[in-house]
Symmetry: C2
Subunit: 439 residues, 2 copies
């Protein structure tokens, strides 16, 4: 038998992903040793409560409540406890001690990424986080390595399985948001408190991580524009469908040329209309996909399960093999560059196409009045569609639905249009404003 050197692996957290990582590590130990050139020894699993109920895969003798001691005796630390503290403190400790770190903690990276990456660079340690975005889907590594010689222009990501499941139900079965969310909760695709998902917080964290990596610049999660899907109605989805679109919650990272020269970066999350012919339109259920447009490689898409214990564990194991190989090979790691120092733009400076839905009074001259508002703000109208209104009761004015598609326009101009429209007497309500992406 070959004598391998030993690498000491500390695992923080024994939840659904942690249990799978432990089990894969223990089960495939020999195979991993052969692939890595070193034996990966799980030295302990840090938990808060030794007696909490756990998966059978977790050997009880490995459990410890002394995370700090475990960390200080490790070559590689895997953090799967989630949340900001004590995860941040533990990882700072691990990096300070020279250990490489693997994390799936998107909230931590989006919030304290700068601090962690800076420390890693300073001490020559590596920070791996494939599991933080897109679950099992390899997306961090392709962006970091495969496209390293290329130039990414735009990323459109379906990075939240819960919202994709809900929107897919609404599209397929015509359900209202509430009913679709109830189904998602029942089937385990949504948490008891779904706000982190449906309000777009989870997707915004992932957008910050992807934008930083793709554009080599700092993107604080606070600078990511965010709208959730709670306002998306069955009518929005049905009308989008009729017009050849599907509604998807997208995390969008984009290089934007500036009027004053140079370029900036936009990172934003909102429900958008995606053409049905676009590869992202075929991403159903709780799956994730990241669509990348780059200068040389053209359009690429990475698709797969965006969550799940074993799927995410696969991403962690991939990172572990990379980290372990680095230990075997030796030498300093490669720091992630944020040298580009691009400004992160406010949503008002972003350009897209829009689809605006209005309730308007059904009387002569209304269309001309509305068209005038768009034109005054320099927003060019591409198509208008009006539903035949039901007959109004005698003596009352009927209302009609009006769908207006625009050509590309700045968000600031469109905001001006919406403001002005809502002040028109003939406009009963601005029912929705959805942006069009992926054209």
């Amino acid at each position: 038998m070959i004598e391998y050197r030993t690498l000491r692996i500390a695992l923080l957290g024994a939840g659904s992903v942690g249990a799978q990582v432990a089990s894969l590590l223990l089960e495939h130990g020999d195979e991993l040793a052969a692939r890595v050139g070193a034996r990966l020894t799980l030295t302990g699993i840090a938990v808060r409560d030794l007696d909490a109920p756990r998966s059978a895969a977790i050997p009880r003798e490995l459990l410890t409540t002394d995370a700090r001691k475990l960390i200080l005796g490790a070559d590689i630390v895997i953090e799967l406890i989630g949340g900001l503290e004590p995860a941040r403190e533990y990882l700072m400790l691990a990096l300070s001690s020279g250990a490489d770190v693997i994390t799936g903690n998107k909230a931590l990276l989006a919030t304290h990424g700068d601090e962690l990456f800076d420390l890693a660079e300073q001490v020559g340690a590596q920070l791996y986080y494939e599991a933080a975005v897109g679950g099992a889907i390899p997306i961090i590594r392709p962006l970091r390595d495969s496209l390293a010689g290329d130039r990414v222009h735009r990323i459109l990501g379906i990075v939240n399985g819960t919202t994709n499941f809900v929107l897919d139900r609404m599209d397929t079965d015509g359900e209202e948001f509430g009913a679709a969310l109830a189904t998602a909760t029942e089937l385990g695709y949504a948490e008891a408190d779904p706000s982190g998902d449906v309000d777009g917080y989870d997707a915004a964290q992932k957008a910050a991580i992807l934008a930083r990596l793709a554009f080599h610049t700092r993107v604080p999660v606070s600078a990511v524009y965010r709208e959730g899907i709670t306002g998306v109605t069955a009518e929005d989805v049905a009308s989008a469908k009729k017009a050849g679109y599907v509604v998807k919650l997208l995390a969008i990272c984009e290089r934007v040329p500036l009027d004053e020269g140079g370029e900036g970066v936009s990172a934003r999350v909102y429900p958008a209309l995606v053409p049905r012919s676009h590869p992202l339109a075929a991403v159903h259920g709780a799956n994730n996909a990241v669509f990348v447009e780059s200068e040389a490689a053209g359009s690429l898409m990475f698709y797969g399960a965006g969550a799940g214990g074993i799927e995410t564990a696969s991403a962690v194991l991939g990172d572990l093999v990379s980290a372990a190989r680095r230990h075997v090979v030796g030498g300093p790691g490669v720091a992630e560059s944020v040298a580009a120092e691009l400004p992160v733009l406010d949503i008002s400076r972003v350009t897209t196409r829009y689809r605006v839905t209005l309730s308007v009074l059904d009387r002569p001259g209304v269309l001309a009045e509305i068209a005038g508002v768009f034109s005054e703000h320099g927003v060019s109208v591409e198509a208008v569609e009006q539903t035949v209104p039901p007959a109004a009761p005698p003596g009352e004015e009927g209302t009609a639905s009006l769908f207006i598609g625009t050509h590309a326009a700045k968000e600031s101009a469109l905001s001006g249009v919406v403001d002005a429209l809502s002040r028109l007497e003939a406009v009963v309500a601005v029912r929705s404003v959805l942006r069009v992406e992926g054209e």
Copy 2:
């Protein structure tokens, strides 16, 4: 300005990919230096004929006909000349001299991969080949690194753009093979001699490369079962469409449990029926996609442009950045393991579902007779569909079309069925046998 060390890059070949690599390397020199931590200096471009017409991107003063001299003075050699010789000789020379090698040469890897990988391991050099499969799509690196801690069960790949374009036309426009191929040639998606693509040779080479990498075992291209698409008719495509399938030329790599215990590997290429709900069914035009099923990560798909000068150049640049970083970091590379030593199975030992199309005499008892043949060979029939035959001229027997879908069965059993059917008097012709994949 930062002083970087210099890495000497030799480029072999100045075709469409080579010209793009040269141009990206020269244009983005500073950006690459910052990302890599070393200046990448293109020391020369080896060509056969100095005076052949070339892209404007190629600086004439870099051209040389002395490939050997260029190679011996390089840290990293990029081979984009294609073909077996002198490519093999040049790469052996490069590896022997300790240079890392980047190649997009699938024929070479599929044929002489063992020799090249063995030498690389022996001398501690690295062999990168992201461009050999799927053009710009990162697929080699995800299989090698991201899924290194996982276990791949099956790969279904649309890895040839020409055949996907042709089959997509047949599916979308109902064209016959010949007409669709003529369109592909006209639009530049097929070469003047399309046999390498339409007969499946190109896909078979890629299947050998993917199977080797995914299953850590040697897979000679001669062991890859291969059928092309020249026999696929408009009728096959239309009837598949009616039944909810689309015909795609797939490269399939699969772990197969053996009856005698243990497991083997199957690598095969043929036109297969893919359910329309499968992500691969949405891959249109000349695009490529590789669908990977693994134990932990579940189903993943990698999608993008499968060919094209600049797209393939992007993959080469990604490899170059990896290779250059390794030079900066130092240390030996990681050899690709073929330690699993699994047997590569003959097609007769593979199990799939089938759809058989027959022309049969339209007379009583035929269906029972045919069903008997399937049953005798232990192949279970799932569905039978018969077209209403046109009225036969007086005095003649009419013929009907019969479509028979089977449950999963061994290829050897199905061969027996087809043999027996073709000997039946009532069977006018076995018009097609297509396998069903991706269910």
